[in-house]
Symmetry: C2
Subunit: 372 residues, 2 copies
Amino acid sequence: MAVLDHKRRAALALDVASSPAALDLRAVRREVDAALATFLDAKEQSAPGPELTSLIAQLRTFLTGGKRLRPLLCMCGWYAGGGEGDHSPAVRAAAGLELFQAFALIHDDVMDASDTRRGRPSAHRALAAAYTAGGGPADRAAEHGLGAAVLLGDLALIWSDELLRGAGLTVRSPERVLPLLDEMRGEVLYGQYLDLQTTGRLSGDVDTAARVIRYKTAKYTVERPLHIGAALAGATPRVDAALSAFALPLGDAFQLRDDLLGVFGDPQQTGKSVLDDLRTGKATVLMALAVQRASRSELRSLRARFGKPNLDERDADVVRSVLDRTGARQAVEEMIRDRRDEALTALDHAPFPAAAVAALRDIAGSATARHA
Amino acid sequence: MAVLDHKRRAALALDVASSPAALDLRAVRREVDAALATFLDAKEQSAPGPELTSLIAQLRTFLTGGKRLRPLLCMCGWYAGGGEGDHSPAVRAAAGLELFQAFALIHDDVMDASDTRRGRPSAHRALAAAYTAGGGPADRAAEHGLGAAVLLGDLALIWSDELLRGAGLTVRSPERVLPLLDEMRGEVLYGQYLDLQTTGRLSGDVDTAARVIRYKTAKYTVERPLHIGAALAGATPRVDAALSAFALPLGDAFQLRDDLLGVFGDPQQTGKSVLDDLRTGKATVLMALAVQRASRSELRSLRARFGKPNLDERDADVVRSVLDRTGARQAVEEMIRDRRDEALTALDHAPFPAAAVAALRDIAGSATARHA
């Protein structure tokens, strides 16, 4: 389905809309989870030795409870691109994206030395605990956990590649999907590297902070999953462009929300500490705006706390009040609203079937208004 | 060239032998290095931002000075499999294997907290130094270096995939090459995980130690590169089996030599500290044999030193003398000789062109008798 004329597309839109299963996001989620389970079962059975079982179990635990945002977007991309018939290649690709995200998060937590993720111990913490529980010496547990988490992330990365490649090869257009994967992986690592470079330095450089989220999140989390799904459906370049027009502002808004939740969120709901971002000194747009607008004494106050590993709840309160008083928090809320609106406007004339448009609207709403 | 009859193969053998460039290992090395340089140049030019330049520069430095064993074996596999004509797909795959090895070493050094590699600072050390040199706060340098090295390894991994996949797709048999890659990557990560699990525990379990090197080295370093080269040439299963018969004993011998050099080597020649393996407590065959043969007092002596982060030169001397007195060192030397002989014998009737056999003999000699 490389090209669809307008009549054909209108008919397809009706088809999809009249088939509620097609864009039932909960059903999609179940299918993606089933694909992940099947893949990991096969890996467990073909493992060279029993030792991998415990590592795979850690991966399964880690995969529980994610938002499945990238898989859902991949499936939306498939439908937006006019995908019809057997959508199992897109489901496998979607599952591959979730494994890739597991890789990214596991390594990210190692890099940030984060203790929790999704309300549970982060992978390196869980692996350290498992090591001690298995009789390993306690004084090696942290080092072992770190090493095992690096490996677990590596494993998730190469397995995501297998799932994604396998999905692409069963359909017409591996030569379109694989370069997108390469782009996606390069972009997110570039974003992570920028992130790492800027972390710990209090700065008013909003442009660089915006650049980090463009690569680390907007392209990686939203645009590329949509493109990959669309490529599997053999979508036209016009569809790709319309997906980007939706994806990039939405992705920026998603990360801006994440940054707000990282400082103002409820840990019970986010599953993440509300001190981690401040302790590691994440150079967010939020923080850059605050620096730009801060008085001299507010700046001193930020400087004394931002990026300090021993920052406590009281310090965090002081930082929060500066973010409020300078209007930085409010400015970020406005940026989120503007970008969400831009994304929604882009959908108004997008050449997608109606059911895909409706699903993307839903996702745009929940990704920008969420509490977790 | 899926099937070659004997006459055809004999003719080919003569062709290859009469073309000295075909198995000039130094020329092969230059071609692989040129392919790596071309690939990294392209990555630098297409980078989303200038920040990647410094990371790519670190990768180039890291890639300088390796033995290029896997690329050479990949090229030998190509010739052993009857490859002829344009060998550039095999060169690209060989370059991809070297990038994969860079990934493995960079992450390995993070996991082992090794300070040096190939006579220079390990990647996380070099990246920490670059961070401070660029004005980064000194108290964050170690953490930053670690994070950046995890990312640099990730980047090497995904780029190796691009090179390898690109090599496979330009020839007949991506469907043979790509599953081999998946196998190889899974095997080495499994070996690394076993390694990590056993590190730091003094044990007489020779079987497990042998299992680690089978996966971590014999299959990954020797067998799979040969298979990948052969697959690119469209080799027969008979060639694959003959390559395995050579590769597995040689790979075991290669790692056994590495383990000896890790304790008895000259750091000036190996480029690695001679204390690292003992400090981290590498559970080698060498150590397992010593434990099996040690008297009670020798065992106490090992236990007091093995895996202790503060082990010094004097402690290392004590451990070395136990390895000598128990005959463990000598036993490993004998194992190396036996396995090298087994590998060489396997070549006697291998269905490879003569030039490939000669190159493999050379490699077997230098891989097992080396000092670095």
